[in-house]
Assembly symmetry: none
Homo-oligomer: 251 residues x 2
């Protein structure tokens, strides 16, 4: 019974594709305001609701932005390419962030434990290398390279578990977090101690795995996630505080 049959083409899809084409080929540049809905609907030969459905599609992909009474404008950021549905959900459903962190605590804890039990010499060498890179990235690198090094480190742990799913999932979840939390990531820079704390936490995980102490590795990983979770919540609170302060100034 599920949608196995072929789909009937929908008008709104055709309209959305047409508008997309205009944007991509440049006849509608970023910042441009597209014609009024009534006008555009007449020009395309469709009804206004159909046109609106198409516009909402583009809006949900972040390609256009509408303001009541103002008009509909082409966004400056082309190619949003947010194809992962979890990504957009994260921004609108804050509880998902908590769920993700809680899940990561379990996952990374287990990964560290297994890695300490099963890592081969090759795994340990690779882990040591990614750890060194990460440590250096924290000192000098920009956020991009730091994020990449972070993923590499956690993925090296995942691979050391010799369980393909662990590595894949832990990297995927970390990437998912980074993409939607990068805004608040540099909040950590306001806390001078944060960097050294994070570095010591990573070091604790690394040495516990290298010394093959599973329980210690798990504890270190969980401590690390707990710290991330706590400082993230704290940075969100302080961001909210700054916003109210700014709002107070404007009145």
């Amino acid at each position: 019974m599920p949608p196995n049959k072929l789909q009937v083409p929908r008008i709104s899809d055709a309209v959305a594709a047409s508008l997309e084409k205009r944007i991509l080929e440049g006849s509608l540049k970023p910042g441009d305001r597209l014609p009024p809905e009534r006008e555009l609907a007449a020009e395309l030969g469709v009804s206004r609701p159909s046109l609106r459905e198409a516009i909402q599609k583009l809006a949900s992909r972040g390609m256009v932005q509408s303001r009541q009474g103002g008009g509909t404008y082409v966004t400056h950021q082309l190619e949003a390419s947010f194809f992962d549905p979890w990504q957009d959900m994260m921004s609108t459903h804050p509880t998902l962030r908590e769920d993700l962190l809680e899940f990561r605590r379990m996952l990374e804890g287990q990964a560290a434990e297994w890695a300490a039990e099963r890592a081969t010499e090759v795994d340990l060498a690779r882990l040591a290398q990614t750890f060194a890179t990460l440590d250096a990235a924290f000192d000098a690198g920009d956020l991009e390279t730091r994020a990449a090094a972070d993923i590499d480190f956690h993925q090296a742990i995942g691979e050391a578990t010799h369980n393909a799913l662990i590595g894949h999932l832990s990297a995927a979840l970390l990437r998912m977090m980074q993409d939607n939390i990068r805004l608040n990531l540099d909040e950590l820079k306001r806390v001078p101690a944060a960097i050294s704390l994070l570095k010591s936490q990573h070091a604790a995980i690394h040495t516990a795995i290298a010394e093959r102490r599973p329980a210690a590795a798990r504890a270190a990983a969980e401590t690390h996630i707990d710290f991330v979770r706590e400082s993230l919540a704290q940075s969100l609170r302080s961001a909210a505080r700054r916003e109210t302060a700014t709002r107070r100034l404007n009145t």
Copy 2:
């Protein structure tokens, strides 16, 4: 002139978020058909065009799929986004099966533990219902309904954890296993005791959660997976034996 000003909240966005929430929480599961547009619009207190705009948003993200005259269905996109690449590999790389089972042991164990800690009365009622269905399906049902009931049961546990990731991931993993192992599933029928054993294991998980004993729930879930893992390996061995025997006959 660009849209710097604050945005007026659109109804379609609120509706889309509401539907997203239902999907995340599990009240709308992948494969489910959502109510007719007219009905849903009335229930949400919005007009049909507004509801349609919201549905188009979700459809453009691939979370739902509509067929004229048929209905609108929740896709498996959320779960598939994690494991799509793994599906085909499962059949060719047998070690992945082991990894999957090991991962499930951790996941289901944690899920059972959290469910025992956090389940509300509603969760417990739903869990009891899915358990009863599963128990009945083991006696009379064919493989299809048994597999579906199995997914429902484990998903109910996942939902009782009140962690969106747990529910979707555990369902996705179980479905992935069933899809790639169904061939060997009826192997279990050759072991008469297996059915009663599985039933008692499910019962143990259920009662432990219902009685809110987290440690017992985790242990029961892990025991269950251990049994599945062991009997699966055994059935594979016997299947291999039969195959070599058959091959011997043909020469």
